[in-house]
């Protein structure tokens, strides 16, 4: 009885795994085939002629280098800005007592209820007003202020024992030194989770870059790749090579940071 059940479990999980990673493997196999073999019916599973040249061709046709560089810069700006702003606010909400604190916190939390599309036209108008459309800065600015990050770090700061700041105040420590020398080091794992989730979100964001920037060389990879779909869809083996180029680095990073990503998502339940 028990072994029959466990066989069922493994059959289900194996089927799930095949459905999930099968398409990625098919993407790779197509990307190393010749054009004629890629569209052959019935298809070959493994390429008869194995060739890397599709990667070279698509990298010449499409500015992956620039798009990766842009993505890296935008992610770095958003993560750095958000960590500073959210940790300062999280510290104030969790550790300092001042009139109006709870009311302000409730109002800030209420913003989580509003779908992001509400803000897109005004954000676009602000960027036009600042004359920074079609720049990388414009991609980063709205992402700097993240209510979720404030909430997450407030929760982390709440778990730190109160005696620590009391002792520091007795020793004559100012609030800024308590924040930077005592609180931040103790909140490291929360900060890492927030940094990773923010990177992932910025990495995947599609609509905002499409709205605020026009030229391909000012896009993040996520939005830039949408141009690739529009332009070169005939040569599937090349497009799939482009797909692998934009998927593989993150998969490798993910394998390194898996624990943090999984924990962060489990704790937050943020949209993936």
């Amino acid at each position: 009885m028990r072994s029959k059940n466990s066989a069922l479990i493994y059959i289900f999980l194996l089927a799930g795994t095949i459905i999930t990673i099968g398409p990625f493997i098919w993407m790779f196999l197509t990307s190393v085939k010749t054009y004629n073999e890629a569209i052959k019916t019935p298809p070959t599973l493994f390429p008869e002629i194995f060739q890397w040249v599709n990667y070279k061709i698509i990298m010449e046709k499409f500015p992956f280098g620039i798009l990766y560089f842009n993505t890296f810069l935008v992610v770095a700006m958003v993560v750095a800005g958000q960590l500073v702003i959210s940790s300062m606010a999280g510290y104030a909400f969790a550790r300092l007592r001042f009139p109006g604190r709870n009311v302000i916190f409730m109002i800030v939390l209420g913003l989580l209820m509003i779908p992001g599309q509400i803000f897109l036209i005004p954000h676009y108008k602000i960027m036009v007003g600042l004359k920074i459309t079609n720049t990388l800065i414009a991609l980063a600015i709205p992402g700097l202020f993240n209510v979720f990050g404030v909430f997450l770090l407030r929760q982390v700061f709440l778990t730190i024992p109160k005696e620590l700041d009391e002792a520091a105040i007795v020793d004559g420590c100012g609030y800024f030194r308590i924040y930077s020398l005592i609180m931040l080091p103790l909140a490291k794992s929360g900060m890492v989770s927030l940094a990773i989730l923010t990177s992932l979100w910025t990495w995947k964001n599609l609509m905002w870059p499409l709205i605020v920037n026009r030229s391909l060389t000012k896009m993040t990879l996520s939005a830039g790749l949408a141009f690739l779909i529009g332009e070169h869809t005939t040569y599937y083996e090349q497009v799939m090579a482009g797909g692998i180029i934009s998927v593989l680095p993150v998969i490798i990073l993910f394998l390194f940071f898996q624990r943090h990503i999984v924990e962060g998502i489990a704790v937050s339940g943020i949209k993936g």
Partner: protein, 299 residues
């Protein structure tokens, strides 16, 4: 003396509190509060790319009521939610449940099935367009080998919502199963042990123990999934040509908003669409909170 000292300290603390909040509050006031009210204001104007916007009262909202494209996109959006949310919930729960039961290889399966969650939508769109390709796509090739007729996944009007939902479900299960797995791991094992001693079958313990104790997590995941799927845009944008006939049948409310605001630059009208989106999401969430009493058990 002591009182003076504590008030002085209190003032210092109040000062510090507001100084620490300052960067956030400045950002939120501009990019959220001001933006929110500006969006409401824009929805009462005829703003487009050209000329000064004029105040036109409720005209945009009146136009909405008689716009067949709006109604169709709203209906289509509800279709996406109705198809995808139950599928994501059932599959996510099953995967999480089996992952927890598996003694060996559990972390391998989890890692493999999590991959779509770290893949950008554009790459998923590329990949699935290739799989769905009418002539050379893997799915139709497998079908023709099995003597099933080929299917025009992304151009058949009656099908296109389901084809996109499949991609959406495929990519969303991976995130939601992680949250559900964390929920499962929080259920104390003593409940299962007690049930086993009482002779409960695995089915009984799943329906009588697992599901009720998991219900707060299930509720949370449902709320998140409904909100996310209600805002579906990426896969529609990435997989259907804007001019294709299929777009009429695939278009969601957010896609229609994007199209009005940033393709045809009818910003005033688009703003009114986004306000409707906001109100509907708010209502659905409130309704879910009301109905949670019927099925969510908190210890």
């Amino acid at each position: 003396m002591i009182n003076q000292k504590t008030t002085a300290m209190g003032q210092k603390e109040t000062m510090a509190g507001f100084l620490f909040l300052l960067p956030l509050l400045i950002g939120l006031s501009i990019f959220y509060f001001y933006a929110f009210f500006q969006n409401i204001f824009i929805s009462f104007t005829d703003m487009s790319s050209f000329g000064k916007p004029a105040y036109i009262g409720l005209e945009n909202y009146k136009r909405l009521l008689t716009d067949p494209k709006f109604w169709r996109s709203l209906k289509t959006t509800f279709k996406y939610v109705a198809v995808s949310v139950p599928a994501v919930m059932v599959l996510g729960t099953l995967v999480a449940f089996f992952l927890q039961k598996a003694r060996k290889w559990s972390s391998f399966f989890r890692t493999a099935m999590f991959l779509p969650a770290v893949t950008m939508p554009a790459a998923i769109g590329l990949l699935w367009r290739w799989l769905y390709n009418y002539e050379f796509g893997l799915i139709n090739i497998i079908f023709s080998q099995l003597d099933i007729a080929r299917i025009a996944w992304l151009s058949e009007p009656a099908l296109v919502v389901y084809s996109i939902s499949i991609v959406l479900i495929w990519s969303m299960v991976s995130t939601q199963m992680i949250i559900l797995l964390a929920g499962l791991q929080n259920i104390p094992t003593m409940y299962y042990e007690a049930a086993e001693i009482d002779g409960a079958s695995p089915f009984q313990s799943f329906f009588k123990i697992t599901l009720p104790l998991l219900s707060p997590t299930l509720f949370f995941v449902t709320i998140i999934s409904v909100i996310n799927i209600f805002q579906i845009f990426d896969f529609i944008f990435l997989m259907i040509q804007p001019t294709a006939l299929a777009m009429r049948y695939a278009m969601s409310l957010v896609y229609y908003f994007y199209d009005r605001a940033f393709i045809v630059f009818d910003k005033g009208y688009a703003a009114s669409l986004s306000m409707v989106l906001f109100v509907i999401i708010l209502l659905i969430t409130i309704i879910q909170f009301v109905f949670q009493k019927k099925w969510v058990h908190y210890n």
